[in-house]
Structures are given as structure tokens and as C-alpha cells.
């Protein structure tokens, strides 16, 4: 048994495998399958200042070894989250990353301020949702906007702040540096790429939103590249995600520079995916005589 524990911003994680925001709801649906305390942590569904109903359906399309979604931040709003979901989550004996978003920097800051008074472990600020008109990717694709929203949220909370970056940019390292300069404690990446599929029979986009967020094993090489670039550009810990579906994928993401990984699409396909990834990572470490998962982080030797 390798030592899988990792530490990010002073928070101890049992293992580096975290269900990604948006695929795991608030965990309740997965409790029928296993004890959530086995997870490294849980990133909750993106929560905004007030309730949102999200986009019209269809909101999902399949792609070759991936998927598109256009949920559009459907959530009950921060007050309902804190009241109805958070107590249960905090009782789960795992690290809770509250994923937040908003149409304006003020909304994000307000949500963060409310969470600041709770026992949530970390705030993950999503500046990269491709499925909403305001905020979302608009924050994540400009250094100025990314810096501004990070600054506002930073002022609103002393909680460890992880900013979640968009891959739909010319230079993700510049955004990363802008966010680091405004006091982010960690970075998570990648959110979904922007993609599209068309139904040949109806000649309509499969998603009612026309375009949507592209995730899953297909995007893994882009995610590894960006994690590597960002980890080398900033001195913050990085949580890597995008296509992680096996223990070996997790090891690769850690080597690229991540301190932990999040798992999204793989869970949509199979509720047991995070447990399998934890086991496989452990087995891989053992069979390669590596004592700890933590020592993988950033261990790739570039040419």
C-alpha cells in the first residue's frame, strides 16, 4: 500500500482523486454506491448567488471518447446549498471544495463571503464555464477579467481559494499568472473545451445551446499539456483534470505537475470510476516501488 495522501494549501487529502464539479451533484446520488469518505475530496456542483434553472435540453451529446454538456450552471443558489447540502457534505469525512460561479465579480464575491462563514474546506472559483452568457468563460478568457474576479473573491474570503481555468485560451499561463498575482492559493484545470456536434438527421446541433463543454478521455492530451505549462509558470499547487479515467492517467497528470486530480466524465459513465482510479493508482505505485503519490507531482523531466 503506497501512501496516497497529498496536501494542498495546508489541507490534507486522503488521496489525490476528487470527483469534479458538475458530475457529482452534492454527492447524495453516489452514496448508494459507496461511502464518500473513500474519496480524496468532492468538488460540488457550481453554485451561484441565486437559483438557476440552466439551459434548455438537449444538454448532452456523445463524442468519440468524450462528451459535450451544456447544463449551464443549474443550481439551487448559495443559500440553499449552505442550508440543505453543505451540512451533509461536511459530515462525509472528506475534503469539500465548494465550486462557485456568478455573472459578475460581485456575485462571485458574495457567494464566497457566504461560504467564508461555513466550514467548507476550499473554494473553487469557476471562471471558465462555457455554457453561460455572462461571467463564466468571459472571466476565464481575459487576463484582466480573471484578475478582477479573483481579486473580488479573494477580498471576500480567507478560505483557501482555488481558481478553475478555461482551456479555451491562447495562453493559459498568462491567465494563471494574472490569477496568481491576485492572491489565488491554487489553480484547477482544465474546464471543458468548447465543442459542437450536429444531428445529421435533423441538421440541428445536438445541444440546444448549439455549442457546449467538451470533456472526457479525448481531451486528456490537452489537459496534460496545460497542467504542465501552468505548473511551470506559477508557484501555486495545481489540481489537474480533463479526461482522467484510470490510475495511469492520474499518475501522468501528477507527473505533469498536478498535486491532485479531478474526475468528471469517467464518473458520468461509471459511478465507481473514482474508486477504481484510486485502486489503480495505488497498484501502479506499488508495482513501480514508489512509496508516495505526492512524489510524482511535477516529476516529469522535459527534454
Amino acid at each position: 500500500m503506497a501512501d496516497l495522501s497529498v496536501n494542498i494549501c495546508g489541507i490534507p487529502f486522503k488521496n489525490p482523486v476528487i470527483p469534479a464539479s458538475g458530475v457529482f451533484g452534492y454527492g447524495r446520488e453516489y452514496e448508494q454506491f459507496y461511502d464518500l469518505s473513500r474519496l480524496g475530496g468532492i468538488a460540488t456542483k457550481g453554485t451561484t448567488g441565486t437559483k438557476r434553472t440552466g439551459n434548455l435540453s438537449p444538454r448532452v451529446a456523445e463524442t468519440t471518447m468524450g462528451m459535450l454538456n451544456s447544463v449551464g450552471l443549474q443550481n439551487p443558489g448559495i443559500d440553499a446549498f449552505i442550508e440543505k447540502e453543505l451540512p451533509h457534505l461536511l459530515a462525509c469525512d472528506t475534503v469539500i471544495l465548494a465550486n462557485i460561479a456568478g455573472s459578475t465579480a460581485e456575485e462571485c464575491a458574495e457567494v464566497a463571503a457566504k461560504l467564508d462563514k461555513t466550514d467548507v474546506h476550499m473554494i473553487e472559483l469557476n471562471i471558465s464555464c462555457p455554457n453561460v452568457k455572462l461571467g463564466g468563460a468571459a472571466f476565464g478568457t481575459s487576463c484582466t477579467a480573471a484578475a478582477q474576479v479573483t481579486k473580488a473573491v479573494r477580498a471576500a474570503t480567507k478560505k483557501p481559494l482555488c481558481v478553475k481555468l478555461s482551456p479555451n485560451v491562447t495562453s493559459i499561463t498568462e491567465i494563471a499568472k494574472a490569477v496568481e498575482a491576485e492572491g489565488a492559493d491554487a489553480l484547477s484545470l482544465i474546464n471543458t473545451l468548447l465543442g459542437m456536434r450536429i444531428d445529421l438527421r435533423t441538421r440541428r446541433p445536438i445541444l440546444h445551446n448549439n455549442m457546449g463543454g467538451f470533456s472526457g478521455p479525448a481531451v486528456f492530451p490537452v489537459a496534460v499539456r496545460m497542467v504542465w505549462q501552468v505548473a511551470n509558470a506559477v508557484s501555486l499547487p495545481v489540481i489537474g483534470m480533463g479526461g482522467v479515467a484510470s490510475g495511469e492517467d492520474a499518475a501522468e497528470m501528477l507527473m505533469a505537475g498536478a498535486s491532485a486530480v479531478q474526475v468528471g466524465t469517467a464518473i458520468v459513465q461509471d459511478p465507481y470510476a473514482p474508486l477504481r482510479i484510486i485502486d489503480e493508482l495505488n497498484d501502479w505505485l506499488d508495482s513501480n516501488h514508489i512509496a508516495t503519490a505526492a512524489e510524482l507531482t511535477g516529476s516529469v523531466k522535459p527534454w
Binding site: Y30, G54, M65
Partner: protein, 262 residues
């Protein structure tokens, strides 16, 4: 599909596989734990082999709690259902089930009308078996070659009315005609329906006109199938009539017709 202790939990053996029409297949799956819990109107979510990301939702068409089996009937539409149709007795299938919220049935002695359109017909069978002679099953198909399950409905003791769009089998025309006739003949306690949206709409409209409770099974593209990923939203009204988003996989697939925003 790589087998490990986790996939094993979702892996079930296929007892039998039968081709019903050019496109439709009937599969019986050995799954005692699932069959024990399943109720009519629920669905299973199958992951075909061969590099698919998403599972395929298929309604439950038969529940045999003694044999510990479920039956599903599906049509080949795209690559995923094609892959499923290539499975044979003895093969295994990766399945998450039973999922969703099923039909809420009146007593077995209450008259029910069950309306099925095309590949929406299968989930009507367990209801017909439950209500037996008190059930009227009205099913509609494109043409003769697409007709399925009529013998099963008859065997359940239900009054079985067949319609086709082109009159090549049974009655000519839409299911709403015999539906209205049957309502007029004797008002049922409940109408249940599954099929294409226009059919569901028309059925719900008739139910409203005649003030009959109506439950419809909806379709939406799905991800997780268990209520977590929120991709399968449909528009419904809450008790106050306010629009809310609910999720076909968890709150449905069966909804009271009055809740649905068509």
C-alpha cells in the same frame, strides 16, 4: 470492457436475446438484485462495449422477480443500440439499474388505458400484466413491419388495440381515436402513455379534457442516469404552477402529465 471488482458489480449475464422485427430486439437479463427492486416505468442504463462514453437508457418491459430477470425491448437507432443488438445469450452487459421514478398505479381492479407509440410500447407491458383484463392497451406503429408485443399484451389478458400510420395492420391512423372511444366507453382511473412527443401531448390533452389522471414517460438524452450530472432536464411546473427544471432520470421518466410543460 476491462473487468475489475467495480465493473463486476454492474456486469450481468444475458439469458436470452430475440429479434422481434427488422430493428427491434428483446433481451432478458439475469439480475436478481435489480429485479427484486424494479417497478414498472423504471429504466436500465446500458453501457455498450466498443468505446462509448454514455450509457443508453432503455425502459423495463418485463420484471420477473421469481426468475430474477428483467426484460427490455429496444430498437436499433444508432451505433450504441446496434452494439447492444449484437449481444447474445451468455454474453454479459454493463448495466446500472433500476433507475428512475416509475408509474404510480391504482388498484388492480381499476380500469386503465395504456397508450404506447412505436418503441414507447414496451414499458406498457408490465402495466398490462398488472391490470390484466382491466387494461386496454392501445399501441400505434408506423406500419405492419414495426409492430411488436401484441401477443404479450393479449397474453396478459388486456384488451389489445393495434393501430398503424398506414393501415397495414390493425386500425388505420393515430392512437388518439381509439383512445377517445375507450374513454367514452368507460372512463378509466388512469391513462399511462409512452411514445413520441406529439402522441404524448395529444394523449395528455384528451386526459385533461376528460379529467382523467394521466402519467407519461418522457425521453431525454442522459449522462449519469442517476440525478447527479443534470443534463437530462425537462421543464415541469411545481405545485404552484411555477416553472422548474426536473430531471428525467431521477424525477422521471414517468411524470404526471399535468406537471409537464409541453
Amino acid at each position: 470492457m476491462k473487468q475489475d471488482k467495480y465493473t463486476e458489480k454492474l456486469t450481468y449475464r444475458i439469458r436470452s436475446m430475440e429479434q422481434l422485427t427488422a430493428a427491434a430486439w428483446s433481451m432478458v437479463i439475469e439480475c436478481p438484485d435489480v429485479a427484486a427492486k424494479a417497478v414498472p416505468g423504471q429504466f436500465v442504463n446500458l453501457l455498450p462495449d466498443g468505446g462509448f462514453t454514455l450509457r443508453r437508457p432503455i425502459s423495463i418491459c418485463g420484471i420477473d422477480k421469481n426468475a430474477g430477470t428483467l426484460r427490455i425491448v429496444f430498437e436499433v437507432r444508432g451505433k450504441g443500440t446496434k452494439a447492444l443488438s449484437e449481444l447474445r445469450a451468455g454474453d454479459t452487459v454493463n448495466m446500472l439499474a433500476p433507475l428512475g421514478h416509475g408509474f404510480t398505479l391504482p388498484g388492480q381492479d381499476a380500469r386503465v388505458i395504456l397508450v404506447g407509440g412505436g418503441i414507447g410500447t414496451p414499458p406498457m407491458l408490465p402495466l398490462a400484466q398488472y391490470s390484466g383484463a382491466k387494461a386496454v392497451v392501445i399501441s400505434g406503429f408506423r406500419n405492419r413491419d414495426a409492430v411488436i408485443l401484441q401477443d404479450d399484451f393479449a397474453a396478459a389478458g388486456a384488451k389489445t388495440i393495434l393501430c398503424t400510420d398506414d393501415g397495414s395492420a390493425g386500425r388505420f391512423g393515430l392512437v388518439t381515436l381509439p383512445l377517445e372511444e375507450e374513454i367514452k366507453a368507460e372512463k378509466p382511473a388512469l391513462i399511462c402513455a409512452c411514445g413520441p412527443l406529439p402522441m404524448l401531448k395529444a394523449t395528455a390533452a384528451l386526459a385533461e379534457t376528460y379529467e382523467i389522471p394521466c402519467q407519461v414517460s418522457l425521453e431525454e438524452r442522459m449522462g449519469c442516469g442517476i440525478g447527479a450530472c443534470l443534463v437530462c432536464a425537462c421543464r415541469t411546473k411545481d405545485a404552484n404552477g411555477d416553472e422548474q427544471y426536473t430531471h428525467v432520470c431521477k424525477n422521471g421518466p414517468v411524470f404526471n402529465a399535468q406537471e409537464v410543460i409541453w
